[in-house]
């Protein structure tokens, strides 16, 4: 059974139709990349899958691990294993990074009927993952994303992903605003988490990130529809020819 099945998904934001019939299937163990020009609906797809309520689904269905994802609240989807690495992570003043992460882990564990973690269980794992992402220990006590640089925020997203161990990880333009060193660290973090139990949906505007995270499949989203799918070579082709090439294909013949 596929982990994620998207069928004819239509969605609108503030009355504007953004997704116009997306079809996509992800199996556990696969890494898919969604590429596309600005405004093609990449982020909308990510937000809809994470169940943001201000994004209205007008048609289609999404099955996640056999369940109707579109019936879930954001926290239910999260507890079922859907993780979104945000393009613009939000700052929450006064809430310690470690405290927040432990609360999130425990919310998810509680949902699954597992025992909550105390600080003694949590800290060793947290420290290890910090190291993986070459993040400073001082981040533990700092407020969630507050005063973080753009790169620190993105790394923090990957840190959270590494801690929460989702089954479906959606990365929304995690590469934007990263310099090459940070990009490599983020990619290494992602690669370390690749497993046969987990699928990735990596949304990116540029091919650059895909040099470090080798996707199994590449899809091109244009004007709310996937117009082309292929292997990693598609990303290179796009890099060479630009999106104009696929946009032409999106026009009805």
């Amino acid at each position: 059974m596929a982990l994620l099945e998207i069928e004819d998904l239509h969605a609108s934001v503030d009355g504007h139709q953004i997704l116009k019939g997306v079809n996509l299937v992800l199996n556990a163990g696969e890494v898919h990349s969604i590429m596309g020009p600005n405004g093609s609906g990449k982020s909308t797809l990510a937000q809809v899958l994470a169940r943001r309520e201000s994004y209205e689904v007008t048609q289609g269905r999404v099955l996640y691990a056999g369940k109707d994802l579109l019936q879930m609240k954001p926290e239910e989807a999260a507890c079922e294993g859907v993780f979104l690495a945000f393009q613009y992570p939000v700052e929450i003043p006064g809430i310690g990074n470690a405290y927040f992460l432990r609360s999130a882990m425990n919310a998810i564990r509680k949902y699954r009927g597992e025992d909550e973690l105390d600080a003694m269980d949590f800290l060793p794992v947290f420290r290890e993952r910090l190291k993986l992402l070459e993040m400073d220990d001082a981040l533990m006590s700092r407020s969630l994303n507050e005063g973080f640089s753009g790169g620190e925020k993105k790394r923090n997203e990957i840190l959270q992903m590494a801690m929460l161990e989702p089954r479906l990880a959606i990365l929304d333009e995690t590469d934007s605003g990263l310099d090459i060193d940070a990009l490599k660290i983020v990619a290494e973090g992602v690669n370390a988490l690749r497993s046969s139990q987990r699928a990735f949906l990596v949304i990116t505007h540029y091919q650059r990130l895909l040099n470090y995270i080798a996707p199994d499949f590449v899809h091109v989203l244009v004007d709310g529809k996937i117009v082309r799918s292929g292997g990693p070579e598609l990303a290179l082709e796009l890099e060479e020819k630009g999106y104009g090439w696929t946009e032409a294909e999106a026009q009805p013949a």
Binding site: S54, P74, A78, C79, G94, I95, F100, A104, I108
Partner: protein
């Protein structure tokens, strides 16, 4: 955005969790306020002559104010007229057990505390907190007394202090908040029934947090508490005050007075968690809380620190203040005030700098939700004599939903050019994007809101004693269930 507003409204529907009434026989005086009632109260309490005289002077002053219609109207709050003749000014549980033994308490009272989650026995055992429990208007239990007595610390009900330590009461009563201070303070002086009294002698560091739980119980009984805390030279004391109240249909007037006196090198820390019944979601019922709290740093290098977490009451009118008279004295005010549904709060502080090199810090966090109206009102006054005075003020407001209000009225009056003043202010709202971010990580909306608000209040909560901080977060959570999105 609309979804999150809906959520806020849904959450705002939850009922006050701690509303219940305890059945206890009460000893009450008739409704109304006149000389006869004041004499009756004083007689019931077996007070010495000087107390009766003081009460009567206060009554006359209050009556003159009432004739001039001098009930303060400047605050940013609205409420119907209060009929002061329609209030019962004294009630006490009839059963008065021996003060030192919990076993002799009316089991009903014990059960009330258990419902509140603060069983005396637990408190006694756990935190090493001495509890002077004020049930309605008369203290019924005082614990840890003997241990405190060994160190010369006096911690008892005000009534007991009047009987056993009349000289101290006489010396300090009204020395910070005179009976002429304001309308509600005059009223309190005339009719106050009980409260707490603390005296920490020279050089003594009080070995435990002193705590009083106030609870309004009798219907139509205004509660008029009076607390006096004196820290003698070099003494240190930390005092905790916290309360909840049962559901009532009629508004209940509460006009308390708290006076703090810090002599040379003394320190007083006064922490409050207030969660009185705020009224229902339409604003019916709920406590009117008109409180005068003031501390006087009389001595050099003395320090008074107020921390308050105000989540209850229909109306809060409260300005815990510091008179910084001694050289190098320090005043602090840390406040979290939350208004939900139809609650109104007009609260803040006054820092009056008189002595040289006096310093004050004000940090306030106002949270408005539902149709709540939250006002910060603060005055920082640097007198001519206060060379080298410094003040730092930070007031932040957080809005939840789109039907509430936050207001800020800072008054700054500087009469000495060496003063250094800093003022920072911010207003923000809980955004749909913040909530979505936290929910995407698995937290329920309520948990997310609670987390954001607790983060917002962090700089105040860390001023609270540890066990109180935990309780404050819980109270905020409970209040927020009705408040936030």
């Amino acid at each position: 955005m609309s979804t999150s507003v809906e959520t806020i409204r849904d959450l705002a529907q939850q009922e006050y969790k701690w509303g219940f009434v305890t059945k206890i026989d009460e000893d009450r005086v008739p409704k109304g306020l006149n000389e006869e009632i004041v004499r009756l109260i004083s007689a019931r309490k077996g007070e010495p002559e000087f107390m009766l005289e003081w009460r009567l002077k206060a009554l006359r002053h209050w009556q003159s104010l009432e004739r001039k219609d001098a009930e303060p109207k400047w605050a940013n709050i609205t409420y119907g007229p209060i009929d002061y003749q329609d209030i019962v000014y004294y009630s006490a549980p009839k059963q008065r057990p021996a003060i030192d033994s919990l076993e002799s308490l009316d089991p009903e009272i014990l059960r009330t505390y258990e419902k509140l989650g603060i069983p005396l026995e637990e408190q006694k055992r756990l935190a090493g907190v001495a509890v002077d429990a004020v049930f309605d208007s008369v203290s019924v239990a005082t614990t840890f007394k003997s241990k405190l007595a060994e160190m010369g610390v006096i911690f008892c009900s005000f009534s007991e202090a009047v009987q056993k330590h009349p000289d101290l009461v006489r010396k300090y009563l009204g020395s910070v908040v005179p009976y002429t201070d304001n309308f509600f303070a005059s009223l309190n002086a005339a009719v106050f029934t009980d409260g707490s009294f603390v005296y920490v002698p020279k050089g003594v560091r009080c070995p435990m947090e002193l705590s009083t739980y106030f609870r309004i119980n009798a219907a139509e009984t205004g509660q008029f508490e009076r607390t006096l805390i004196v820290a003698d030279e070099g003494a240190t004391v930390s005092y905790l005050e916290g309360c909840t109240a049962p559901i009532r249909d009629e508004n209940q007037l509460h006009a308390a007075v708290v006076e703090l006196v810090a002599l040379d090198n003394a320190q007083i820390k006064y922490s409050t968690v207030q969660n009185w019944y705020p009224g229902d979601k339409e604003g019916r019922g709920g406590i009117y809380n008109f409180v005068t709290k003031r501390g006087k740093c009389v001595g050099v290098n003395s320090k008074i620190s107020w921390t308050q977490v105000e989540t209850g009451s229909a109306i809060t009118w409260k300005y815990p203040s510091c008179i910084l008279q001694g050289e190098n004295s320090v005043g602090e005010f840390y406040s979290v005030a939350l208004t939900n549904n139809r609650q109104q709060a007009d609260t803040g502080t006054k820092m009056i700098h008189i002595g040289k090199n006096t310093r004050s810090t004000i940090v306030t966090k106002g949270i408005s939700a539902g149709r709540g109206q939250n006002t910060y009102r603060g005055q920082v006054k640097i007198m001519k004599s206060a060379t080298g005075a410094r003040n730092y003020t930070q007031c932040d407001s957080l809005l939840i939903g789109d039907r509430c209000g936050a207001h800020t009225f800072p008054y700054i009056d500087v009469r000495n050019s060496t003063a250094r003043m800093e003022h920072e202010a911010s207003t923000s709202r809980i955004g749909e994007n913040q909530l979505f971010y936290l929910r995407q990580r698995g937290l329920k909306t309520e948990e997310a809101v609670s987390m954001i608000v607790n983060g917002f209040c962090k700089t105040v909560f860390r001023e609270l004693p540890m066990e109180f901080a935990v309780e404050a977060q819980k109270l905020l959570g409970v209040s927020l269930e009705g408040s936030v999105g």
